[in-house]
């Protein structure tokens, strides 16, 4: 894990409630914690001028969607991002997907789900239920974008927004 990811991670509050979207009693509490963590994460990003995503969720908080972007050679590349909260969350990490990049890179499962590094899954598993959406973005999507997008740009597979 590189330093930037580490420092990001430190600033995101950890979550306490272990509940999936089907847990009628505890899911609202978990969702609150997720939102608080995301607010803290985005606030920090804004302060550091490193705001790189914008997401919102459905009423029940089980579907998330929005946009993420990255800069390469001073050019902004923006993509739609979406994911569902799995039933076995938070034991299972959410599968973040960028549908627009489906089929363009090997580091992606069918349907546009990003393929995360080998470190991610064990790290997530060790930290259940403390990690949430904010951490998934910080440790998963963020590094993936910073590695993959330059590669795709170089190959001419994507164009700026």
């Amino acid at each position: 894990m590189d330093d930037s990811a580490k420092s990001q991670l430190k600033s995101i509050p950890l979550l306490k409630t272990k509940a999936g979207p089907r847990d009628e009693a505890l899911w609202p509490k978990r969702l609150q914690e997720e939102l608080e963590a995301l607010i803290a994460f985005v606030t920090m990003n804004k302060e550091n001028d490193k705001d790189w995503f914008h997401i919102e969720c459905s009423d029940r908080g089980d579907r998330w969607y929005g946009k993420c972007w990255t800069f390469y050679n001073n050019v902004k590349y923006e993509f739609a991002v979406e994911f569902d909260i799995p039933i076995t969350y938070p034991t299972t990490a959410p599968e973040i997907s960028l549908p627009e990049l489906d089929g363009k890179t090997a580091k992606m499962y069918r349907g546009g789900k990003i393929c995360l590094s080998e470190h991610f899954k064990p790290l997530w598993a060790r930290n259940v239920p403390k990690f949430g959406i904010a951490q998934a973005f910080a440790l998963g999507l963020g590094p993936w974008l910073s590695v993959e997008i330059p590669d795709l740009v170089e190959k001419g597979l994507i164009t700026p927004a």
Binding site: P28, L35, I39, E47, D49, D51, H54, I55, G61
Partner: protein, 700 residues
């Protein structure tokens, strides 16, 4: 829980807010300068700097700002111009527009704003602000929605409306009036309100203004209608609802009420389709009642059609209601009424048919009973556990009867009921009831008639049961009599057998078993199974009959028949007494005592002597003679002709030699005559011999 979701909603909106907020970091001044420089270098922007180089604006903005400032100055300095909606106008232009508008409106009276905008290529807001807002100050024009009107125009149309309203003589939809006057809705109602307030509307509006069915009813109309109603009534002495409806009156009663004075209105009767004076209604009512009283029914529809007034079907129910209110016993089958007297007549007319039907039902039941006859006996056995036979006593008699009676009762019970069509058919054929009422009357009387049939059948059954009980009793007595007679004879002959020598005793005993004992067994079987001609049945049939009997009786009868084949009569006697026991057939059987036997033997002897004298057949006369001679000696013998020879030989020791010789010779002749049937001489001799024998026996 809902507070948790509210909290979530709040956090979600906070997240959005945070995400949408501007980033904290801004570019530093140096960076900005550098960026602008780079942009200028690349000729991507075109800016104008101030002299001191610190501020710059785009050219466009410069022009605009200047223009705006210049415009403001112009307006401030010169009255000839004005600004409206961000555009600069010369007042002359505005005046010209106003003049044009005035001319247009004075010519046409009304103009839509959209058409003005189109013609003058102005936007609506501009038109409004330039002209319209100033226009209304003059007081000559009104802007209403999308149109501009001159007040003269509106005034003129109001007068048109007033004229229209005055001219209308019947109820008219407001929408039609509005079309005629050619005013849009709000102007129309404004004009109408004006007229209403000044009292210039000779009528009234009925219904809500927003509804499509709002009507204007002129006052004149009411007066015309009342006059018409009164005229109608004066001419015809009735008023038809349909005529009133043609005049557009929906509330008939109210219309008539307003046409007449209170006392006159009170004298009217409202029916379904017509209004008539009360006297006419009463006259008609009495006519109907008379008809009803005369014929026990009245067809209201037919009667009303005879009247001179145009009554319709809807009016009938009023008459029917009035008549039935006075007499609750009347029955209604619209449009007819009938009295319960008619029902009674109808039922009476069917009396014969009911008897016939009851008879048919009885026959059906009898047939049914015959088919199921054996079963009741068994059922009885099971039901009473074989114990109850004693309970029946002499009156109940045969076991079969009691249960069969119960079956009959079931048949005449609630199961039977008539079909309505059948009753209708009977009524039709009886011709006592009018055709139109047949169905209704049939439905009314069906229960009564069914019950009547059930009662008749029950009576018939009771009669039958009584007679069958009587016949049961009779047959039981008969059986007992027969039994005792036969048994007395059997005992007699059994006693007689003791005095017969051994060599013929067994044969005679067997003959007795084969004849009298078997006859008795058959008679008892016939009695037990209630079948006749047991003696003529084949062996198999007899066995089946025995098999069908209840087990106790069956066993006794089987024993009896078995005893017929045995070598002495002891078992026969035992079986016979078992069978007649109270727990089996309940027959009283007596073993005749010695005295009775002697008496019977004497009687037997006398009978035999009489037979000897009467019988024409020589063989028979010979047999009777032989038997008589034994009987005279106190030995009752039951034998057939084939025993004669043996019996005669035994007689040698008992009678006179003379008689003995006569017998012997007669016997020989009989045998010879059997062998030579055609021999007349032989026959003559035989006759003579028999005659001699008779004489001798008669002498003593």
């Amino acid at each position: 829980m809902s507070s948790a979701w509210d909290e979530i909603k709040r956090l979600a909106s906070d997240l959005q807010r945070v995400q949408l907020s501007a980033a904290a970091k801004k570019l530093s001044e140096a960076n900005c300068v550098e960026v602008i420089s780079k942009l200028i270098e690349r000729q991507l922007i075109d800016v104008v700097f101030t002299r001191d180089g610190t501020t710059y604006i785009t050219r466009k903005h410069l022009c605009t700002e200047y223009v705006i400032a210049a415009t403001k100055t112009i307006i401030a300095e010169d009255d000839e111009f004005l600004i409206s909606a961000g555009e600069l106008f010369a007042r002359d232009y505005v005046h010209k527009l106003q003049m044009d508008l005035r001319v247009l409106l004075s010519e046409e009276g009304v103009r839509s704003i959209a058409s003005l905008c189109r013609d003058w290529s102005l936007s609506t807001e501009l038109l409004r602000s330039l002209l319209l807002d100033r226009l209304q100050e003059g007081g000559e024009f009104t802007v209403d929605g999308e149109n501009i009107y001159t007040l003269d125009f509106l005034e003129a149309h109001k007068f048109i409306l007033r004229a229209v309203l005055c001219a209308i003589t019947k109820a008219t939809l407001l929408s039609h009036i509005q079309q005629r006057v050619s005013l849009p809705t709000n102007r129309f109602f404004a004009a109408l309100d004006d007229l209403l307030s000044s009292g210039e509307v000779p009528g009234k509006i009925v219904g809500s203004r927003t509804s499509a069915s709002a009507i204007y009813i002129p006052n004149l109309h009411g007066e015309l209608v009342n006059a018409a109603i009164r005229r109608m009534f004066a001419q015809n002495e009735y008023i038809l609802f349909s005529d009133l409806k043609k005049m557009g009156l929906s509330d008939v009663k109210a219309a008539v009420k307003s046409a007449f004075a209170k006392e006159e209105f009170g004298q009217l009767r409202f029916l379904g389709s017509i209004v008539v004076p009360e006297e006419v209604f009463d006259t008609q009512m009495s006519a109907l009642k008379d008809e009803l009283a005369q014929n026990c029914f009245v067809d209201v529809s037919a009667e009303l059609s005879k009247s001179s007034l145009p009554f319709e079907a809807e009016d009938e129910s009023f008459f029917i209601e009035a008549i039935t209110a006075g007499d609750k016993d009347l029955l209604v089958s619209e449009p007819r009424l009938y009295t319960s007297e008619l029902l009674a007549k109808a039922v009476d007319s069917l009396s014969e048919k009911l008897d016939q039907r009851a008879g048919e039902e009885m026959d059906k039941m009898d047939q049914k009973k015959k088919k199921t006859a054996p079963k009741p006996a068994e059922k009885d056995e099971w039901d009473e556990g074989g114990k109850g036979k004693g309970k029946k006593g002499k009156g109940g008699g045969a076991k079969g009867r009691g249960n069969a009676k119960k079956d009959e009762d079931d048949n005449t019970g609630s199961g039977f009921s008539l079909d309505v069509d059948e009753v209708e058919g009977w009524l039709r054929s009886s011709e006592r009831v009018p055709e139109e009422l047949i169905q209704s009357i049939a439905e009314q009387i069906i229960d009564k008639v069914s019950q009547s049939i059930r009662d008749r059948v029950a009576r018939l059954v009771a009669t039958q049961a009584v007679s069958s009980a009587q016949s049961n009793k009779r047959s039981h007595q008969q059986m007992e009599q027969q039994l005792n007679q036969l048994y007395a004879n059997i005992s007699l002959f059994e006693t007689g057998l003791e005095k017969i020598p051994d060599n013929i005793r067994d044969d005679l005993r067997a003959y007795l078993q084969k004849t009298l004992c078997t006859e008795l067994a058959h008679a008892l079987l016939g009695f037990a199974s209630d079948t006749g001609n047991v003696g003529q049945m084949k062996e198999k049939q007899r066995e089946e009959t025995i098999e069908a009997l209840p087990s106790r009786i069956k066993d006794a009868i089987v024993a009896l028949y078995a005893s017929l084949r045995e070598d002495d009569l002891q078992n026969f006697n035992n079986a016979l007494f078992d069978l007649c026991a109270p727990s089996v057939l309940q027959l009283g059987i007596k073993n005749p005592d010695k005295k009775t036997r002697e008496e019977l033997t004497n009687v037997y002897a006398t009978q035999l002597l009489a037979q000897v004298n009467e019988q024409s057949d020589p063989a028979a006369a010979l047999l009777s003679s032989v038997l008589y001679l034994y009987a005279k000696d106190g030995i009752a013998v039951h034998a057939s002709g084939k025993f004669v020879a043996q019996l005669v030989s035994h007689l040698a020791t008992l009678i006179d030699v003379e008689i003995y010789d006569l017998l012997l010779s007669a016997q020989k002749l009989v045998v010879a005559s059997f062998k030579n049937k055609g021999d007349v001489e032989l026959k003559e001799q035989l006759d003579q011999q028999i005659q001699a024998l008779r004489q001798r026996l008669t002498q003593g």
